[in-house]
Symmetry: C2
């Protein structure tokens, strides 16, 4: 299963806010135009980012802004904000292995630390990349 496009969408939204902040009011309609997704979807994602303290959204008057330095917002922050993973576990375990089987009884405890290692490796890489990196590369191309 793939990680939902909400993640790339959220990064795109941040990039738009930063690039256009001085020249436009960056509304959900504006962002919908750049991302080519429905403005309601944009507002939902903005709501998740706002709940995580990563953006500010002006109710009524409209427009989104980024309340902290780009270098302090990592991909992991964004991932955690938009990718509402159950109990924070990347791997979905099959629910009821048979406890009367010596394998079924132990499979969970045997795998848990190994799956966590994989998840932590992924999260470590996510946290090593920030919006500052994204904007540096974006401005090079614009």
């Amino acid at each position: 299963m793939q990680i939902s496009s909400r993640f790339t969408l959220a990064v795109h939204i941040f990039a738009c806010i930063d690039v256009f902040k001085d020249d436009y009011k960056v509304t959900s309609e504006f962002l919908a135009g750049s991302t080519n997704v429905n403005p309601v979807i944009v507002r939902k994602i903005l709501g998740q980012l706002k709940a995580a303290g990563l953006v500010e959204v002006a109710r009524g008057s409209g427009g989104a802004s980024i309340p902290k330095p780009l270098g302090e917002i990592s991909f992991l922050d964004i991932y955690n904000a938009v990718e509402c993973i159950e109990k924070g576990e990347l791997f979905h375990f099959h629910e009821n292995p048979n406890a009367e089987c010596p394998v079924g009884r132990n499979i969970h405890v045997v795998l848990d630390d190994k799956l966590m290692r994989v998840q932590k490796a992924m999260e470590a890489e996510l946290s090593s990349i920030t919006l500052e990196d994204v904007m540096r590369d974006t401005r090079k191309l614009i």
Copy 2:
């Protein structure tokens, strides 16, 4: 989104085959009993593992076996076998960013290498764990 339980299920199946190989014919029915999932689901996963050359399944007479050393089957091998990810990409990109927007035009190329770094970090950790590790820990507990 979580990684499908097919992955933990597949590892469970391997563990069963290895533990019970000398005492039982390990059929899909047998594996369904230990994992507590439907035998057809087990057969589908066995089919994917077989296609990847990770198990052998005896048609007709029944029973699954592992045709190579446990140390040579990594979590990444199993992941790739059962987690049919579109074009091998972990991240789902939003489809049609607006090419007339300087951000929309460049977001894909800016993000691609960064998302690949995350995916590679995860795959590297997956490939560092083998069924040998799983069976060592399992046998300790049995």
